[in-house]
């Protein structure tokens, strides 16, 4: 048994062999924004989940035009193969990949194991920031089939369709409202969306080298909790980054056709007036 769409995954060896390919762009996306400056894969550029990808005013992502501008500056053309990697088991790499898919960039890949595996294999990290010739990039209209908004999440919950809460067990149970050092990511109510099953994201990756678990293990994990390929699945966490990893696993590694990431996640739901909550 193999992953359903193995073309969305590359290993560190593959990346090492394609460092200077003109039609490949390697993007580092981290939780910690200084990691890139301290050392990155030769030729890689940085895309920060916050300062690069968020809308400067609203709680939303860049507009299509702003996204085009980002890609143009990074020398990414419409047919460039974009490979993402990052810290924390590729959380933010998956988040960036998801947003690239949202604006229609089809040729995207995750480097399995991310920064941790690359470092453990003592592969080179450099400080030099590459520059590329500007491209004319044309994004597609936002693909809402991979992004869930609150009204849809409410319908999903009311219809008892599959919802996956990928946060830690204490966040799911409502014991913990926010991470102690992240007061802005708090919510006024704790618990989970009614009907959501708890499958913490970390169960999909191997702790030692951040790589994804085998297809058999992944299938057993999600099907064991009744999250199956024929359902319309919505995944959420606190701000939508950990659930991007789950979204990637379900969509590409297990090949579920209908999976959405709810990026509003608990920071929206737990603050939303009148939203039903289960504890």
């Amino acid at each position: 048994m193999s992953y359903v769409h193995p073309e969305y995954l590359v290993d560190t060896e593959w990346v090492a062999a394609h460092l200077s390919d003109a039609n490949i762009r390697i993007i580092e996306s981290d939780e910690d924004p200084l990691l890139y400056a301290i050392g990155h894969i030769p030729g890689a550029v940085q895309v920060d989940w916050f300062s690069t990808l968020q809308h400067p005013l609203r709680r939303d992502f860049l507009t299509k035009e702003q996204f085009e501008e980002v890609n143009s500056k990074l020398g990414i053309a419409n047919d460039t193969i974009v490979v993402f990697y990052g810290d924390k088991s590729n959380w933010f790499a998956c988040y960036a990949l998801w947003l690239f898919q949202y604006y229609g960039h089809k040729n995207v890949k995750i480097m399995n194991g991310g920064r941790l595996k690359w470092e453990k294999e003592n592969r080179p990290l450099v400080k030099e920031v590459p520059s590329f010739t500007k491209t004319a990039y044309h994004a597609k209209e936002a693909d809402k089939s991979i992004r869930a908004f609150r009204d849809e999440v409410l319908q999903q919950s009311n219809a008892k369709k599959p919802l996956v809460d990928v946060r830690s067990p204490k966040e799911y149970s409502g014991e913990m409202l926010h991470m102690p050092n992240y007061p802005q990511e708090g919510a006024t109510r704790g618990g989970h969306i009614p009907g959501a099953v708890s499958i913490p994201w970390a169960q999909a990756v191997n702790e030692t080298d951040s790589t994804f678990k085998t297809p058999e293990e992944l299938r057993a994990l999600y099907e064991g909790k009744n999250i199956k390929a024929d359902g319309e699945v919505i995944a959420y966490c606190r701000i939508g980054e950990r659930s991007s990893l789950t979204w990637f696993v379900l969509k590409y590694l297990l090949g579920y056709p209908n999976v959405k990431n709810y990026d509003g996640s608990w920071t929206e739901w737990g603050n939303l007036v009148d939203a039903p909550i289960e504890k």
């Binding site: 910690d32 400056a37 920060d48 992240y182 802005q184």
Partner: protein
């Protein structure tokens, strides 16, 4: 030693910390980033005698950076802080390194009176997002807890 800050506001920062805050306030965005990286890279490793203490530290929830710190009271009454923060978290290392440089040698009272928002004039949010600067509050709160522990141990 305390001195008034630039605007002669009544709340005082310890001299060394005030100097660091003032330095950052006058830097460009690129300089801020470079200086923060320099602070992160000059992060000292934990001395051997604290390794056992470090091993006793409780695990932290998954999104957080595990910050270990230990305060030691010196003969002149000043506190010296020792840190252990994983190299995978350079931002938190950089922020902790600024606090260590700014507050090592200060008295318990000086440490406890540092306001939680002392870093606002540094304008660091233009280099790293506001979210990441929460690390400052987290590390400072942790240092204050240590200072309180040292009072209780008197």
């Amino acid at each position: 030693m305390l001195r008034p800050n630039k605007n002669n506001m009544p709340l005082l920062l310890p001299l060394k910390l005030q100097e660091i805050v003032d330095d950052f306030a006058s830097m460009t965005r690129e300089e801020k980033l470079e200086t923060l990286i320099a602070y992160a890279e000059s992060f000292p490793s934990l001395p051997e005698w604290l390794k056992e203490e470090r091993a006793k530290m409780e695990a932290v929830p998954e999104c957080m950076t595990p910050v270990f710190l230990f305060g030691e009271k010196q003969t002149n009454g000043g506190i010296h802080f020792y840190f252990d923060i994983p190299p995978q978290s350079p931002t938190v290392r950089g922020l902790a390194s600024i606090l260590a440089n700014g507050l090592n040698g200060c008295t318990i009272e000086e440490i406890l009176t540092v306001p939680a928002d002392f870093y606002m004039p540094m304008n660091l949010q233009e280099a790293v997002s506001q979210q990441r600067l929460n690390g400052f509050m987290g590390v400072l709160a942790h240092m204050k807890h240590e200072a309180v522990r040292l009072i209780e141990n008197k």
